[in-house]
Structures are given as structure tokens and as C-alpha cells.
Symmetry: D3
Subunit: 74 residues, 6 copies
């Protein structure tokens, strides 16, 4: 009965507004299968919650991710 929380930035997908429903379904299936394979966890009670986080709310390297990426390509 595991609980998995996946946080990703809200970007990409068909129109740039975040992962598509199909991509999210793949994440849900993939991580549920992984827990069944590695730890023999029951998929029936494995819960997955995906959070999509606005770019300006995600920080890495002491910068919001949009600023961080500008630094990286300098």
C-alpha cells in the first residue's frame, strides 16, 4: 500500500501547460509497476499523486528554475 508523490514543473506537454493526461497515466502505471516488481507491493492499494508546480515556484541553485536555466546556457 505505498504512497508516491511526484512533483514536476508545470511545463511541456502538447501546449506547454504541463504533462498530458497520457504522460501522467504512464507515470502512474510505471511507478506502481516498479513497486510491485521491487517490493512486491499490491497495485490495488498503491496511491500516486502528481503535483505540477509553476516554474516561478521551483528553485534550484538558489534561483527560480527559469533564471537557473538562463545561467546554465551562458
Amino acid at each position: 500500500m505505498p504512497y508516491v508523490n511526484i512533483k514536476v514543473t508545470k511545463e511541456g506537454g502538447t501546449n506547454g501547460t504541463g504533462p498530458t493526461a497520457g504522460e501522467k497515466a504512464e507515470l502512474i502505471k510505471g511507478v506502481t509497476d516498479l513497486l510491485a516488481q521491487v517490493l512486491n507491493k499490491n497495485p490495488a492499494t498503491t496511491v500516486v499523486v502528481i503535483d505540477e508546480v509553476a516554474l516561478e515556484n521551483w528553485g534550484i541553485g538558489a534561483l527560480p528554475v527559469t533564471e537557473y536555466r538562463k545561467e546554465q546556457i551562458r
Copy 2:
């Protein structure tokens, strides 16, 4: 001074867009009272955060919840 996080799917309520403000107030009061009764925790410093999660972002049984429910009623 407990901290409680309640995650529910964003559905139901008056117009299908999620729990009403009144229902959320009931959850906040209910869980705060529970912690006061069971563990004698002070309601004044009990914090409750409710997250409403889009149906396509919630997985159970290796499926997004909307697909899961279709399977269940077959």
C-alpha cells in the same frame, strides 16, 4: 502543535469543482478536535492544509482515478 495535510480529489461539491468552503471548514474543525481529544493537542497551534488534486493527477490500481472507476463498474 500538529500539522495535518489532507489530500482529496478535486470533485464533488455544489458544482462538481471540489468540496465546498463549508465542507472544508468541517474537515478542519473535525481533525483539529480529534487531535485535541486523542492526544490533548492545542487547537490554537494545530495547522491543517487541504490539497485538492485533479482527477488525472491521482492514481490508484496503476490507473488514473477516472480510468480506475470505469474498471471497477465493469
Copy 3:
């Protein structure tokens, strides 16, 4: 299929090392019942995780909770 996370300080209980198994069972039942009553959520798929946090790892009022309590009773 809600998910609830309850964080409390690791104290109290029979020997001061945190809530007893019975108290935790009461929290699990209480919050699951609450979600069934208020939002008609199915107890069968309601998941509750309780985290017990060491006193020195919990801060309030800019102080670790043990220091905070000393200030309060001055």
C-alpha cells in the same frame, strides 16, 4: 481515496516516547470516519500516515519547540 498525513511531536504516550499504538489507531479511525461523513469518501481506500517528529526537529515561533515552551511559561 483520500490521503492524510498527520505530523505530531514524538512525546507523550505511556512512557514519553510518543503516542501509543491505541492512540494512533484512534487517529486513523477518527480521520477516516470524518472523510466518510463530510465528503462521502470510501474508508477502504483512505490512507493515513502518522509521522512522529523529534522535539528538536519541530520549530514554532522561530524556536525549537522545547525552547518555545520555556518562553511561554516565563
Copy 4:
């Protein structure tokens, strides 16, 4: 490689809809610097996620925060 999650109510900022991008950048920089100073953590792998929570989804003192504030000023 710390992970920090900051949850605040969605209010304030230029037009009352929550912290500005600039304020969020200050939070990201501030907490990343703090972890570097206190624990010598590498800013390059310090991740910060800010969640903005609707007022009716945040509870304190057994009340949603808007109700709580009305009580406080009585």
C-alpha cells in the same frame, strides 16, 4: 542536496493573488543560502518548492484562516 517545501497562504503580492515572482525568488535564495551557511549544503543541488494554498484550504485554531482572523480581531 536538501529539499525544502514552503507552504504559504495565497494572498498578498501586488494584486492580492499571492507572493510576487520577486518575493518567491527571495525565499528561494534565502533558504538556499541558509542551508549553505548552517550545514554547508551545496546550493547547486538544493531544491525549493513553494506551495500557495487557498485561504479556505488552510486551517488554524479549528477554523479556516479567514474565519480565524475575524475571531482574532473581535
Copy 5:
């Protein structure tokens, strides 16, 4: 730069005290690969945190998991 949190009950493994280091490494690799495949996320900045939760701190079906399992096999 995703962040993934996996919560499982603290059981199983070589001596019943929870997943082995090898099993945890498989989870970390598996979920990181999944995010690279599905969303093209960079493994270098994908963070995974595994929480092992004591059985009496995990509730499902309004019961601590140990009680829940006894009910299931009746």
C-alpha cells in the same frame, strides 16, 4: 528536476526491518529512469526520498495496517 517521495511500510527485506539498500537503489533508479523516459527529465537533478513508515503509523480502511490485514484474511 523532479522530486519524488516514496512512502512504504517498514517491513520485508532481509530481516524484516524494511527494504534492503539494494531494493531502495532499484526504486531510485527505476523512478528516475521513468521520469527521463516519459517526460525527458534530467536524471542529474532528479531527487528521490524514500520514507519507511512503522506499521502502526500506517492506516488503511480505518485501521492500522496490521489490524487491516487480520480483517482481510478472516
Copy 6:
């Protein structure tokens, strides 16, 4: 009334078993002050929870952190 969760690996400190109580107090004070300065949040209701995570439970770059560090210094 913000809520902040800081997750760090359980290492360092006086005897290698994680941050000292003094270091944790610095983190609590530092992040509470930051939220007061940037967003004018009230320290009295700012809650901070620090989680110390075992090295084998923390993944980065598709590897547990101990393996990751060995790769980095090759």
C-alpha cells in the same frame, strides 16, 4: 502562518549522526526570519519541521547518495 519542511541527509554534526540541535535551531530561526522579512509572516504561527533522511534513502542522479558521491569524485 507558513509551514516549512526541510529535508536533509542524516549526516554531519558532532559525531556524524546528523545536524546538531544547535544547527537545527539555526535553521528554524533562519527560515522563520526569512518569511517574516520577505512576506511579513508572523513568526508566532510559523511552523518548521526538519526531516533527517538516511543516506541510503536519498537518491540523486539515479543513485543512492553514497554511490552518487563516489561517481562524482572519479
